[in-house]
Amino acid sequence: MHIVVCLKPAVPAAAITYDPRSGAPLRPVERVTSLRDAVALQMAFDLQCVPGTSVTALAIADERADPLLRRALCAGATRAIRVWDADGGSALDTWSAARVAGAALGVLDADLVLCGSQSDDLGDGYFPAALAAGAGCELFVRALSVVVGDHGVEAVQKIEGGWRVGSTLRLPAVVAVEPEATRLRHHAVLGRVYRAGLARAVEVWGAADVGLAVWPAPLLEEIELALPRARTRAAPAAAAKLSAKDRLKRKKAPVAEEAAPVAWDGPPDVVARQLLERIAQWLQ
């Protein structure tokens, strides 16, 4: 089985600085692996125990992704590929990056594609869906585990309310993993796998290598990276008519009676029964 793990070089949130004059946020040069992507990579290494399994780390990014890919090689990846077009690849949004990744998957002939459900920086969660649509694969999101069983590849999906859904995947499939899917393990520095990784190099592919005649144009453009601000909320019509004096009166008034809770009193067993009935009613 050939597993491809898509890694996105993410901006480390803690390294964001602000321009002292304008206050505009400034992105740092360095890039890191998102937690979910790291978990996806670890999950691929866990699956690598199955004989005949190889893991390829794939990034659609410029040279800032190289340290991430080298770390993936040292952690146990068989290959690391970076796809980039120096002429046309200056601005890729999630959709266009997924298109390039989809084209690369066609060349790599992947059985299983693992990626994080969203990145730590932009976090739009569009990549897995766009990749699956571009590559014509099945999409499995919110994955908590992926195992190779007797009946094929089985995955568990996280559903709200503590529910879990176990499914059998039809390969090839794109699986978006959740951060709690597996525990990250640190590779032993100067261990056998680490040394083998050091000997390998990151392959750099261009648009032509993945069969793309034209580098895809982005569907979204970033206009600005701005300081966070609260949303401007329109004042309700009724409140707008109030005079300043009335507004001050309202502000100084004690908490309105309608906001007061329904107070229950009585023996504990009676109150307990009442409360459980109310909870059951709310949950229906």
Partner: protein, 332 residues
């Protein structure tokens, strides 16, 4: 007003998100007003619209469509809903924007629809602006340390998801809308074979996932904690805690609720011995029903609670456990 339209995808997720569609409509109407477009709603099934209308709060839309009248698609068949919705969007030449809620299901659906059609996705927007014939979405990025302003570079339709936390309630009830069923022509089947569905034990349930959260505070003694966990197991609830409870070693750090912990949105939040500091109340802002159990009737949590019980946790929790054991709370 031209024929251009904006669609708001309305889904109460089986009743779990009853308020969200109404808040989404209010946001859709605000954008429609700014753009001069018609604001229409789309539901996956007429029953969803009926449930929303049965809630007693109508909504005013220029049109309301249903994806199909056959049995409702469960959550697991989200691929089917996405396929049908994409087919409807593709067949609507006047559609400019499809707005969905940024919930787990809504975000998944939006990504699938946008990917299926190759359209831009403006996800988890905290604000939308219509400026100079451009739609500009403001998104919180890098753990909220910056806001990214994005705009589509291609013609509509565009797909947008809105952060549920910024949506405001509609100003006033409006007349009910009539539902028209759209013929989608798409009949996709999910590719994944669902083998089994199960629920994890309450002890493993995180505060973000649970529908019921029992949260302990300084008013809960360490020896009463075992009974709180027993009650949580009976109600299939997660156990959380205030910052004081975390400092006191009653709950783990990852179960802290509040501004410096988890921001949660359960259906029922039960505060046990929690006074309710401002920072704690920030974390439960999206909780739908709040119950406060506290010996102090003037505690700030009482003002936020829907039901306030002035009692000692050490007395009431054992009574709740006794009542819950044979109780009819079978399906939570």
């Amino acid at each position: 007003m031209d024929d251009a339209a904006l669609w708001v995808y309305l889904d109460d997720e089986g009743g779990r998100q009853a308020d969200l569609p109404l808040r989404l409509i209010a946001e859709g109407q605000r954008l429609a007003q700014a753009t001069g477009w018609r604001c229409c709603g789309i539901v996956r099934h007429p029953a969803v619209a009926a449930r929303l209308q049965a809630g007693g709060r109508g909504f005013e839309l220029d049109g309301l469509f249903a994806l199909g009248a056959d049995p409702e698609c469960p959550d697991a068949a989200i691929a089917v809903v996405a396929e049908r919705l994409a087919a409807c969007v593709a067949a609507a030449p006047d559609l400019r924007v499809l707005v969905l809620p940024g919930t787990t299901v809504g975000a998944d659906l939006a990504a699938r629809v946008a990917a299926r059609l190759g359209r831009p996705l403006l996800s988890q927007c905290v604000d939308l602006e219509w400026s100079g014939q451009r739609l500009i979405g403001r998104r919180a990025v890098c753990s909220g340390r910056a806001h990214q302003m994005v705009s589509p570079t291609v013609d509509p339709p565009w797909v947008v998801t809105l952060d549920p936390q910024v949506l405001e309630a509609p100003a006033a009830p409006a007349p009910h809308a009539r539902v028209a069923t759209l013929a989608t022509g798409a009949d996709a089947a999910p590719m994944t074979a669902v083998a089994r569905v199960w629920r994890i034990p309450a002890a493993e349930l995180g505060v973000l996932d649970a529908q019921v959260v029992l949260s302990v505070g300084r008013g809960v003694a360490a020896d009463a904690l075992a009974q709180v966990h027993e009650l949580a197991a009976l109600l299939h609830a997660a156990v959380g805690g205030s910052r004081e409870a975390v400092f006191g070693g009653l709950v783990q750090r990852e179960r802290q609720v509040g501004a410096s912990g988890k921001w949660i949105a359960p259906r029922v939040y039960v505060a046990l011995g929690i006074s309710g500091s401002t920072y704690h109340l920030m974390g439960i802002r999206e909780a739908r029903h709040v119950v406060a159990i506290n010996t102090d009737p003037t505690a700030p949590i009482m003002a936020r609670a829907e039901v306030g019980i002035v009692a000692d946790v050490a007395t009431l929790v054992p009574a709740l456990v006794q009542a819950a054991r044979p109780a009819a709370v079978t399906e939570i």
